[in-house]
C-alpha cells in the first residue's frame, strides 16, 4: 500500500509541476494526515492548519524543483521548514515537542480508527526520547539513516543501531510485550 501511495505522490507532484492544480488535492488526500502531524508537532495544534495552507502554496510554487526520488521526504521537509519559518515569523522559539507528534488522537480523529491509534500512541509513549526521535525522523519525515546521522552529527552505524533498537522495542510493545 505504501509503495502505491509513494508512486502516486510522485506522479502527483510532477503533475503539479506541470500545472495540473487539482493534483494538489490528491497530495493532500494521501499525505495530509502525516503533514498535519508534522505541522502540529512543530507549530502547535492551533497553527497547524495555517502551516498546512502555507505548505501547499510552497508545493504549488516549487513542485518543479522536486527531484523524483522520495516524495514523502520532500513533502515532509517542506512542511517542517514551513512550520519552523512560521514559528520564527511569530518571533517565537521553535520548541519541538515529541509528545505532539505522537498524539494525533487529540486532534479531530476518526472514531473507527481511534482504538488502534491509541494503542500505537501508548506504545510510543513507552519509548525513550532518543528512540522517539529516530522513529519520528524515519516514519514521519522519511529520512534515511544517512540523513538522520548527518542531522544529529552521529555515525551512520550508531544511528542504524538506534533505529533497529527503537523499531524492535516498538514492535514488541505493540505485540503486548512490556519491554521492562
Amino acid at each position: 500500500m505504501y509503495e502505491n501511495d509513494c508512486e502516486k505522490l510522485n506522479r502527483l507532484i510532477i503533475a503539479v509541476a506541470d500545472g495540473y492544480v487539482d493534483c494538489l488535492d490528491g497530495i493532500y488526500e494521501i499525505a495530509g494526515g502525516r503533514m498535519l502531524a508534522v505541522a502540529a508537532g512543530i507549530a502547535g495544534r492551533e497553527y497547524a492548519e495555517d502551516v498546512l495552507h502555507d505548505s501547499f502554496i510552497k508545493i504549488a510554487r516549487f513542485a518543479h524543483k522536486y527531484r523524483r526520488d522520495n516524495p514523502y521526504g520532500w513533502l515532509m521537509r517542506l512542511v517542517k521548514n514551513t512550520a519552523l519559518d512560521f514559528v520564527r515569523s511569530r518571533k517565537a522559539r521553535a520548541e519541538v515537542s515529541d509528545e505532539l507528534f505522537f498524539n494525533l488522537t487529540s486532534l479531530d480523529y476518526s472514531p473507527e480508527k481511534r482504538d488502534e491509534a491509541l494503542e500505537l500512541e501508548r506504545a510510543i509513549a513507552r519509548l525513550e526520547p532518543d528512540e522517539k526521535k529516530v522513529i519520528y525522523c524515519k516514519y514521519y519525515l522519511d529520512m534515511s539513516v544517512r540523513e538522520i546521522a548527518a542531522a544529529n552529527k552521529q555515525s551512520k552505524s550508531a544511528v542504524q543501531r538506534a533505529v533497529e533498537r527503537a523499531e524492535r522495542k516498538l514492535k514488541n510493545l505493540l505485540d503486548g510485550g512490556t519491554n521492562d
Binding site: D5, G19, V21, G32, G33, E49
Partner: protein, 230 residues
C-alpha cells in the same frame, strides 16, 4: 529500509486524522506550468529556428509523400542478442544541463533541441559515468505534438552494443521494425494512466537510444526516430 509492520501502522495512524477542508484552494492559484526561462534573443532565435524547421520538415514530408511513415509488418520472431547487463552501482551520476547536452556528446543534440523548443521541455537530465567515461544519459521530457502530449523518458547509452543497463534490458526484446534503413525494436503496452506506452530502442551511428513514450498518439515513437535518424 522501513519495517513493514510499523510502516503500515503509521500509515493507518496518519489516515485516521480528519484533515481540515479547503487547505489547497489558495495554493491552486500558484501552480503554473513550468517554462524554461530564456533570454529574449534565444527565444527569438528559437522561434526563427522553429519556422525554418517547420518549412524544412514540410518540404521533406511533401517530397517523401507522407506524414507518418508506414510501419510495416514487424518481426517478433527475431531474438534479441545475448546481453551483458550492468547497474546503477557501477555508475556515478551527475546532474547535466539539458540546454548544453551536446557539450557532453554531440549525439545528445536532440535533447538540447527539446529543451529549447517552444512545444517541449526537459525537466531533468543526469549523466552516468562508468570506468570508461560517459556511459548513460537519462532525461525526462514532455512535448506537445499538435494536440497530443508525450511524456517521454529518454536514455542514451554509450556502452558496447551488447552491454546494456539492467533497467533497459526489456527494450531490447521488442518487435523488430525498420525505419529508413535503421532497425528498431518496439514494445507496446498500456501505461497506468490508460494511455498507450511505447518502448523504443534503436542503435544509430554507434549510439544506443531508448525512449519510453506515454501518449495518446500511438505513433509517437516515430517522432523520435525522425528526430535522430537522418
Amino acid at each position: 529500509m522501513k519495517d513493514k509492520k510499523l510502516e503500515e501502522k503509521f500509515g493507518e495512524y496518519f489516515k485516521g486524522v480528519n484533515t481540515p477542508d479547503n487547505i489547497t484552494d489558495d495554493a491552486k492559484k500558484y501552480a503554473v506550468r513550468k517554462r524554461a526561462v530564456l533570454p529574449k534573443i534565444v527565444k527569438f532565435a528559437s522561434v526563427a529556428a522553429s519556422f525554418v524547421l517547420v518549412f524544412t520538415a514540410a518540404l521533406i514530408i511533401i517530397l517523401r509523400g507522407g506524414i507518418t511513415p508506414p510501419e510495416k509488418g514487424g518481426d517478433s520472431a527475431v531474438p534479441p542478442p545475448a546481453l551483458v547487463t550492468y547497474g546503477n552501482g557501477e555508475l556515478e551520476y551527475r546532474e547535466a544541463n539539458a540546454y548544453a547536452a551536446s557539450d557532453l556528446e554531440l549525439s545528445l543534440y536532440f535533447i538540447r533541441n527539446l529543451a529549447v523548443a517552444s512545444n517541449a521541455g526537459v525537466n531533468e537530465m543526469t549523466a552516468g559515468y562508468g570506468a570508461d567515461g560517459l556511459a548513460l544519459v537519462k532525461a525526462d521530457a514532455c512535448l506537445f505534438n499538435g494536440l497530443l502530449r508525450h511524456d517521454t523518458k529518454i536514455f542514451v547509452e554509450f556502452t558496447e552494443e551488447n552491454t546494456v543497463h539492467e533497467e533497459l534490458e526489456d527494450y531490447r526484446h521488442g518487435v523488430v521494425y525498420e525505419y529508413r534503413g535503421v532497425t528498431y525494436r518496439l514494445t507496446r503496452t498500456i501505461a497506468e494512466n490508460g494511455e498507450p506506452e511505447q518502448k523504443l530502442y534503436f542503435l544509430y551511428q554507434g549510439v544506443k537510444y531508448y525512449f519510453n513514450v506515454t501518449s495518446a498518439d500511438e505513433y509517437a515513437h516515430l517522432r523520435y526516430l525522425e528526430m535522430i535518424v537522418k
